[in-house]
Symmetry: C2
Subunit: 341 residues, 2 copies
């Protein structure tokens, strides 16, 4: 714990924007001292409510995030945002698109926005996101919004990071999309139906409500447990007749016209009260700790194994060629390496 590192910790905790930005860059670049700082920050957390915002491309998540920032700022709350964006193959960076609008908040020192690319992480995106959330929380932010695009594993990982998950959908995406939504019921705490001035918004709300009704009548939901590594520990209220049951509200929004934003923020706030009053918040934090630890461990193990592999078997690219030519057995290699380690 060098004096240097300590001073970074103190500056981040004091909300110093430049210190936080540099720390995030250093974490990305794998600067060793950065992880030491992160460890110290992690050891004494802030008080941020972490809100996940997820949904399909085109749902207007960035506009909603923008409006939510404005809402919270008006109420005097400080805000951090982690935006997990698809990467352009041209620039190697995030496609900014309507993210640009968030620059409204660029001059506000109480709003910190960090974009992360979705590529080039191989299972490390959730760790990178988790690290940024830790830094924003340490800065003393009241609300941290994690915005992701995704319909698969990404959503689950957001769920594991967040206290409250808002799933954003839009009217008129067809029956097949409705079917997809059943998969996100599991993680949604609040539904936002954005672009609610479009045709079919009532239908979308009705469809969501039907799915929620179905869930309530078929509870306790039997979550299938294929893999002990990845057990969702969102257990709060599996029984709709008990006090712990949370019925996800459905809020119509029109982000471009700033409509429904207050209702959405209120729904999130009601969920926060629910989390605190039922002990569910602690459960979610344990689930998050579990997921974060497993990701860390996986990264560390792979680092060690790959450098050992390079010593023993040569460059990974050559090894891949031998495997592709069936001159090496990947199963045997993986087993042998795991056994030796």
């Amino acid at each position: 714990m060098s004096a240097m590192a300590k001073s970074v910790v103190e500056r981040v905790r004091a909300g110093d924007i430049r210190a936080a930005a540099r720390l995030m860059r250093n974490l990305d670049d794998g600067v060793p001292g950065a992880r030491k700082v992160l460890r110290e920050l992690f050891a004494r957390p802030g008080h941020a409510l972490v809100v996940g915002l997820t949904g399909p491309p085109g749902a207007g998540k960035s506009s909603l995030t923008d409006r939510l920032i404005a809402h919270h700022r008006k109420a005097g709350r400080t805000v951090g945002v982690v935006a997990v964006d698809p990467t352009s193959p041209f620039t190697g960076g995030a496609i900014l698109g309507d993210r640009v609008r968030m620059q409204d908040h660029a001059l506000d020192p109480e709003v910190f926005i960090r974009s992360l690319a979705t590529r080039g992480h191989l299972g490390g995106l959730s760790r990178a996101t988790s690290d940024v959330v830790t830094v924003l929380d340490s800065m003393g932010k009241d609300i941290v919004i994690v915005e992701t695009v995704g319909v698969g594993q990404d959503e689950v990982e957001v769920a594991e990071l967040a206290h409250t998950v808002v799933v954003v959908s839009i009217p008129g995406m067809g029956d097949e999309v409705q079917a997809i939504k059943a998969g996100v019921l599991e993680i949604a705490d609040v539904f936002a139906v954005n672009k609610a001035d479009r045709e079919g918004s009532d239908r979308t709300v009705k469809d969501l409500q039907m799915m929620l009704d179905l869930r309530r009548t078929t509870a306790t939901r039997p979550v299938h447990d294929h893999d002990a590594l990845h057990r969702m520990t969102r257990t709060g209220g599996d029984d709709p007749h008990e006090a712990g049951w949370w019925e996800p509200p459905i809020v119509k929004t029109i982000a471009t016209r700033n409509e429904g934003i207050e209702e959405l923020a209120q729904a999130v706030e009601r969920h926060r009260i629910h989390l605190d009053s039922t002990g569910e918040r602690k459960k979610r934090e344990v689930a998050r700790a579990r997921a974060a630890f497993l990701t860390l461990l996986r990264d560390r193990l792979m680092q060690g194994a790959l450098s050992r592999l390079a010593e023993e078997e040569g460059h990974l690219d050559e090894l891949a060629e031998r495997i592709a030519a069936r001159n090496a057995d990947p199963y045997e290699l993986a087993d042998a390496l795991a056994r030796r380690l």
Copy 2:
């Protein structure tokens, strides 16, 4: 190499449906003998062309797959399908929806369809998919179609499994969706614009063409390399002026009316010829071997580490509680475990 295991290998290689189905179940359930069989199958591959089919929910991928199966069967080719579906929280199984239509092929012994759930794999979905592809290839299938929903990491993983990646889009999904597509340019070998009878299909084709033109004029594309673990090795033809350059064709389809299916299949066939004539097919197989090996290794290391962890630190759930309460340091724990292993 027991007589028993050998006979399963032989039966799968002879295209025995029951033996293949049982092997896939055993692989899912982690039956140790099953991996041994897989190793033998892997050592002597078949000749399948692996075609990835990916795109957003609602694009009609299942209908397209259905039509492609019928097309190939008519041409006398045998077909395997791996459908990676979102999971219903109610059943723990795949939402079948329009998958049911594929039962048209249920009585055809030369078509083998396997659904995989997207949940409960934690980075293991690509391994599970890869295993099924190995089995289908060993069965002697001519074509293996891997169908996935996804806009993020999933698409990259499909790309790593497939010789040819078909990206499916539909008209009228808005500008924000167009922006997303830039991220999949990197992996698309063929574009299908499905539901092409809908308004705006010409616009969608034009937008895709513009992005392809932009890519050609800005080539060589500088892929940003954040993580050496996850380097895309799709290098074939970075220079549009060289013979190795592949310009992805854009094919309009209306799967529900069986229109454009032949054109789509022809585009895939032209890409196969391109792969063979440029040596790109071998490169893709090396990339696939690399990805498959890394996933295997990661799984093995985590298995070993978690059982060691259970011995030394107690149950993972209790450890997660200590981490959440800041009574344990996840960074130190992960480092220490990785160091000892």
